[in-house]
């Protein structure tokens, strides 16, 4: 779990069976979110037909995982990319810009989403395979970093 330590997070790694994912479906993501100690709050399909899963971290952070580059039948698409996103409403563009300049986290992208919202995201690439536990750690790192940012707003 050492890759997580650079981000100042702790991650207790239980021994679990390893298997690779070269794409993901809703069931895979729901399982990974649960393993990452988040609570799945919903799932569905966006207007473009891509799946999403919404969740809440143990710390109360609400976030979504949205599919990118998805193929397959409607309602059962599998995706090669996953966009993890959460946003915080600060109220003004000036405040968002001020905060964004103060925040420096390599593992996430921090953007001004407009309308006074600060957007925090991380994009995962599944092409050719990542281990399920690697996905879980990516989710944990994202929620850990996002919660840290939340605490600084």
């Amino acid at each position: 779990m050492a890759g997580v330590l650079v981000l100042g997070l702790s991650f207790a790694g239980a021994a679990r069976a390893q298997s690779s994912l070269s794409d993901w479906g809703v069931a895979d993501m729901r399982a990974a979110l649960t393993a990452a100690k988040a609570t799945v709050t919903g799932d569905g399909v966006l207007d473009d037909g891509n799946p999403y899963v919404s969740a809440k971290s143990a710390g109360g952070l609400k976030f979504t995982v949205t599919g990118r580059v998805c193929e397959g039948p409607a309602g059962a698409k599998r995706c090669k990319g996953a966009l993890l996103e959460t946003r915080f409403t600060l109220g003004s563009d000036t405040e968002v810009e001020t905060k964004r300049k103060q925040l420096d986290y390599a593992a996430v992208s921090i953007a001004n989403a407009g309308d006074g919202d600060l957007l925090v995201s991380r994009y995962l690439i599944f092409d050719y395979g990542i281990q399920r536990q690697n996905l879980e750690i990516n989710l944990s790192v994202f929620t850990g970093v996002a919660e840290d940012i939340w605490g600084k707003l």
Binding site: G3, V6, R68, Y105, A111, D127, G129
Partner: protein, 162 residues
């Protein structure tokens, strides 16, 4: 300007990606050393220009793309002798005309695969962080490098805006 590489995920970034066959019979990487990263950089179509160690003793490998983009990959969370690292931070920097120009670009760039920030001294910094814990395939690492290069070159050329 666009180079060829095999990744469907890059399509999400609105990039053109012809897909040559890429060997997938490789093993997992749960950490990396310079030799692993040099192989991946070459597989991504770039040229390795240098390798070394930071003051922290963490390794780095620098490279240049066929289009001239210079970048570096730094090890994080490294241990052992020789060092192997659980994290990799890919980074490229572009010097703009002014700090205000950097801020304007940071505000308008919309590429979720990378982080962009004002690095000071008129520097626009673009980075992507890879986590190796529990394993990614070598081909996945190569795809991550390809995507980073592709997005960084797009930003370099004034793109990156939705």
């Amino acid at each position: 300007m666009l180079k060829s590489f095999a990744t469907m995920s890059a399509l999400a970034l609105a990039l053109t990606v012809p897909a040559p066959a890429l060997a997938q019979s490789d093993g997992l990487l749960t950490d990396w050393a310079p030799s692993d990263m040099k192989t991946a950089i070459v597989a991504a179509g770039a040229t390795v220009t240098k390798e070394g160690a930071l003051d922290s003793a963490a390794p780095y490998v620098s490279g240049v793309t066929a289009n001239g983009l210079k970048f570096a990959i730094y090890g994080t969370v490294c241990s052992g002798t020789p060092k192997r690292c659980k994290g990799a931070n890919m980074s490229a920097s572009f010097t703009l005309d002014s700090d205000a120009a950097v801020d304007a670009r940071v505000k308008e760039i919309d590429r979720s695969a990378v982080s962009v920030r004002n690095g000071g001294d008129k520097s626009l910094d673009v980075s992507r962080y890879i986590i190796f814990d529990n394993g990614i395939t070598r081909a996945n690492l190569t795809t991550n490098i390809e995507v980073f290069i592709e997005v960084a070159e797009d930003i370099w050329n004034g793109g990156g805006v939705e």
